[in-house]
């Protein structure tokens, strides 16, 4: 164990257990909301690096920081342990949700193998870039349990293409997990971290191999509202018409949207956060598509991933009860896959839209529930613009969803 730095403890609630160790594997989580980028990076890294032989750091941070200074401070602290990370729409640590902060997670010990990869300028070649980063899985092939974690630029285009590209390389044997970087809902640009580099329009990936099981849970808890509609025209992540009517008009009318959401882009996005689209699936929950913005000229809706033409869709709504129920279900599903092993820690990739439904008190209760499922093991995560989880079938991209990764 590393020596605890008492100065750091001011920023950490006493109730948290930032590190978990079972002998050959450990996971530590550090969280800092210091305003200075270097200080925040150093604090969070120190707190996370509580074990020997760290294999990887995963960093989730606000884009309000000087990300280069933050990354340099973390790398200085870790001695250049492999690192992936991204900017967020809010951070999650064991002690609860936060904003304008940084969360650093460290995985270490001989029981883990890790390899990282980054792909740049991905928006014009999403599938190819997804395949490119997935190649790092080869480096951890000797481990019986593996997962590929992807952190992507959620504003770079159809994220399902990235997942398809990665799936084409890793195949059905290895699950995919991760999320789309955010920018505190400014919807302008996001950042990805890889080693000491700060990237944009990029994908960073970590192949994590372990001696012990790794579990993934996926749920959203949204419910269909009203009658289904046909997507009569769509393309390039936009929905132009529903039932042959301009999509925006159908959306505003059917949901009886407030007046300001009908003209103001910011008000629209806030409204849309809690009213996504649902796509019919063969079984289980409908797939949810986050509506990020609307074009008030051509009356179309902009989504983070493809909404196929001819698809049957519903508008969706959620309430605190349904969303929190989904949180429990996702955690239980992830833990179930550990086959009785205790979790070393849990990652949460939680859609920013759920935060919109739950409100600030609600998201605190949500993370408390996640921490409760972790049973004392640390929790790290971020509020995302899209979530990645492929455990069965081949569809792996989600919206307005909570994805939980449990590491044992």
């Amino acid at each position: 164990m590393r020596r605890a730095d008492t100065e750091l403890m001011d920023h950490i609630k006493e109730s948290t257990l930032p590190v978990s160790n079972n002998g050959t594997r450990w996971m530590g989580v550090g969280h800092s909301n210091a305003q200075d980028s270097s200080t925040a990076g150093a604090e969070a890294a120190k707190e996370a690096l509580r074990g020997d032989d760290p294999k990887i750091l995963v960093v989730f941070c606000s884009d309000s920081y000087d990300l280069q200074a933050l990354a340099d401070a973390i790398n200085k602290e870790s001695g250049d342990v492999p690192l992936i990370g991204c900017s967020t729409a809010g951070e999650i640590a064991t002690n609860g949700p936060a904003q304008t902060s940084v969360v650093v997670t460290a995985l270490g010990g001989s029981g883990f193998s890790v390899s990282t990869r980054a792909a740049m300028e991905v928006s014009s070649r999403l599938r190819e870039a997804g395949a490119e980063v997935a190649e790092c899985l080869e480096d951890v092939n000797e481990r019986p349990h593996r997962v590929l974690m992807l952190l992507t630029d959620g504003l770079a285009g159809d994220q399902q293409e990235i997942v398809r590209g990665a799936y084409g390389v890793v195949g059905a044997e290895v699950p995919l997990v991760g999320g789309c970087a955010g920018d505190d809902l400014k919807m302008k640009s996001t950042r990805q971290l890889w080693g000491n580099r700060v990237l944009g329009d990029a994908i960073v990936a970590a192949a994590i191999g372990s001696h012990a099981p790794i579990g993934i849970g996926v749920r959203h808890g949204w419910m269909k509202v009203g009658e289904p509609m046909l997507v009569t025209k769509s393309g390039n992540n936009r929905v132009y018409s529903l039932d042959d009517q301009p999509a925006l008009d159908v959306y505003l009318e059917r949901l009886d949207a407030p007046k300001e959401a009908r003209t103001d882009p910011v008000a629209f996005t806030n409204f849309a956060l809690t009213h996504p689209l649902g796509l019919s699936g063969r079984s289980g929950e409908p797939h949810v598509r986050f509506i990020g913005e609307a074009n008030f000229e051509d009356r179309s809706l902009g989504c983070i991933a493809e909404v196929p033409q001819s698809a049957l869709v519903w508008f969706m709504e959620g309430d605190e009860q349904s969303v929190l129920h989904a949180t429990d279900a996702a955690c239980a599903e992830a833990l179930e896959s550990l086959h009785g092993q205790q979790p070393l820690g849990m990652f949460a990739f939680d859609c920013i839209a759920r935060r919109g439904v739950l409100g600030d008190p609600g998201i605190t209760r949500e993370i408390e529930r996640v921490a409760g499922h972790a049973a004392g093991a640390p929790v790290a995560g971020f509020y995302t613009y899209g979530e990645i989880a492929r455990t069965h079938g081949i569809s792996g991209f989600h919206n307005q969803t909570l994805v939980v990764l449990a590491v044992s």
Binding site: A131, E135, L137, R164, Y167, G168, V169, V170, G171, A172, E173, V174, P228, M229, L230, T232, D243, D244, S280, G281, R282, S283, P308, Q309, S310, A311, L312, H392, G393, I394, S395
Partner: protein, 534 residues
């Protein structure tokens, strides 16, 4: 307002159609189809297997696709199997097109079988994929054909065009062998391979020249239609060279040149169970049509090049022939102009005589050129006594050479007198020009039935480097010929004879060259029976 059905499979099929039909080429459509199908069925892995190989797959790590396993799944009827990396899976296999060996396979983790509704949906998706692939295949064919058309219209060398057709046939149909056969010009009972794709040197040697009627290619030439041989190894009319290498199936379409069958375009495969579907048959016919176009066009191009070559030769010779006498005339005139008063009268006369002769030469040359231009314009028929016609023809030659009229019947016939006189004039002039020394030129005429034959003979022989047909082509002169001229005489004679339905033949034996003009005439009896046309 649309009231959409909430039936899951209906919308999956509509989504699948929208997605798959947006792909631009066959590999991405195949891959996209299998992905979208797997997404819809929540299946972990999927594949398209065709002709014993995996065309597209999803869900297997890169470079670790269990091809053998998938091929055996495609052939089998098992519903549950172990898939590497996934575990026990429920498997569904549907044909992509009825009667075709291509199959679409999905495998989903768990042991619960695919439902009847799912099976129906997947069949629908397979049909959508088949239609998309057919459409893309057609598009690819059109692209290939337009490239071939461009190379033809850009006058690419014929071999290059033919090679691109055989390569295109091989690529479009995904076969290992493609070739183009043409009828052997030396022996039309055989055909020769002129372009191949995917044929080894060893095989090529054994199939280079094969009898017409043998193999799909040989049969397509005889039958002038599409020929398919499915069980090649046991076919009675197969090419032995291919049988020895276990060819399984061959298809050929005839290739034409100016509407006459000239060869065939052949595609073939060594793969067992390979069959050529309807769209492949259409594609081969379309490619064969383009090969026909290329062959016909190449002939036209050759003719144009030949014409261009002739024109160049013509200009060179004519300019020489015009220039030489002109130079002599100009020189003589200039000498007379400058020194005329000082020249002895004898020399002045000699110069005037030379100028006159050269002027006559020029006149004759120009007449010939003009005659050539108007050779098709036959004149009017008139009644003439054959003996008078021959007398008139030889007049003018007698002063330079002994011309012996051996026979000329006193028969009244009706014919184009002007045209016949023109031909005879050229034949006599030719005879005089090509008789060594003062050899005698003889003429004899006969009327047999409704044909007049006039023979003009002179001592000598035909040029060794020209055959009898070449003598009648323009600008053709034997290399040993010393007389001046541009080689237009016999060409013009031939064309004038043609214009009155006559013909000229030539033979050479016993030191004599003998040109014979045969023209149809109408005798008095004919005229009485059938009044002449106005």
């Amino acid at each position: 307002m649309v009231t959409p059905s909430t039936d899951w499979s209906t919308h999956q099929l509509a989504e699948f159609l929208a997605a798959v039909s947006s792909f631009k080429d066959e590999p991405s459509a195949s891959r996209g189809a299998i992905e979208r199908a797997a997404e819809a069925f929540e299946a972990e892995v999927g594949a398209i297997v065709r002709d014993g190989s995996v065309v597209a797959s999803v869900g297997f790590p890169a470079r670790r696709v269990p091809a053998d396993r998938l091929v055996s799944l495609a052939e089998g009827v098992r519903q549950n199997t172990m898939i590497p990396g996934v575990g026990v899976c429920s498997v569904i296999v549907v044909p992509i097109e009825d009667g075709q060996p291509a199959k679409l396979i999905l495998a989903r983790a768990g042991e619960s079988d695919f439902t009847v509704q799912e099976r129906n949906l997947l069949r629908g998706m397979a049909r959508v994929l088949a239609l998309t692939l057919t459409m893309l295949e057609r598009q690819r064919l059109l692209d290939r054909l337009s490239r071939i058309q461009r190379s033809i219209s850009h006058r690419a060398p014929l071999q290059e065009v033919l090679d691109s057709i055989t390569a295109g046939a091989s690529e479009l149909m995904g076969v290992e062998v493609a070739g183009l056969r043409v009828v052997d010009p030396a022996d039309p009972a055989y055909s020769l391979i002129v372009s191949t794709s995917g044929v080894s040197d060893e095989v090529l040697e054994s199939i280079r020249r094969t009898p017409i009627g043998e193999g799909a290619g040989g049969r397509a030439i005889v039958e002038e239609g599409l020929v398919i041989i499915d069980s090649y190894e046991t076919a009675s009319d197969a090419v032995p060279g291919f049988v020895a290498h276990h060819l399984q199936v061959a298809m050929a379409a005839p290739v034409y040149e100016n509407g006459v069958v000239a060869g065939s375009l052949v595609v073939a495969s060594y793969k067992q169970d390979r069959r050529f579907n309807e769209s492949e048959q259409e594609a081969l016919l379309a490619l064969a049509e383009h090969a026909s176009l290329a062959l016909t066009d190449a002939k036209t191009v050759d003719a144009m090049r030949e014409a261009q070559h002739s024109k160049d030769m013509f200009l060179a010779m004519v300019s020489h022939e015009l220039k030489t006498p002109l130079t002599v005339m100009m020189g003589a005139l200039r000498t007379l102009q400058v020194h005329g008063a000082d020249l002895p009268e004898e020399l002045s006369n000699e110069m005037l005589e030379a100028g006159w002769k050269r002027g006559k030469e020029l006149e004759r040359l120009i007449d010939r050129l003009l005659q050539g231009a108007r050779a098709e314009l036959a004149g009017a028929e008139e009644e003439v006594l054959v003996v008078d016609l021959i007398t008139e023809a030889v007049r003018g030659f007698e002063h330079s050479r002994a011309v012996d009229v051996k026979d000329a019947p006193d028969v009244l016939v009706r014919m184009d007198r002007h045209a016949v006189l023109e031909v005879l004039g050229i034949l006599l002039e030719n005879a005089v020009a090509h008789s060594p020394g003062h050899g005698e030129v003889s003429v004899e005429a006969h009327v047999t039935g409704s044909e007049l034959a006039v023979c003009v003979s002179n001592p000598g022989s035909l040029p060794e480097d020209l055959d009898s047909d070449s003598l009648f082509l323009p600008f053709q002169r034997g290399s040993a010929v010393r007389s001046s001229g541009v080689g237009l005489g016999l060409y013009i004679a031939g064309r004038v004879a043609d214009s009155v339905d006559g013909r000229i033949s030539v033979e050479s034996e016993d030191g004599q060259v003998r040109f014979t003009l045969q023209v149809p005439v109408r005798t008095t009896a004919d005229v009485l029976d059938r009044p002449s046309l106005p």
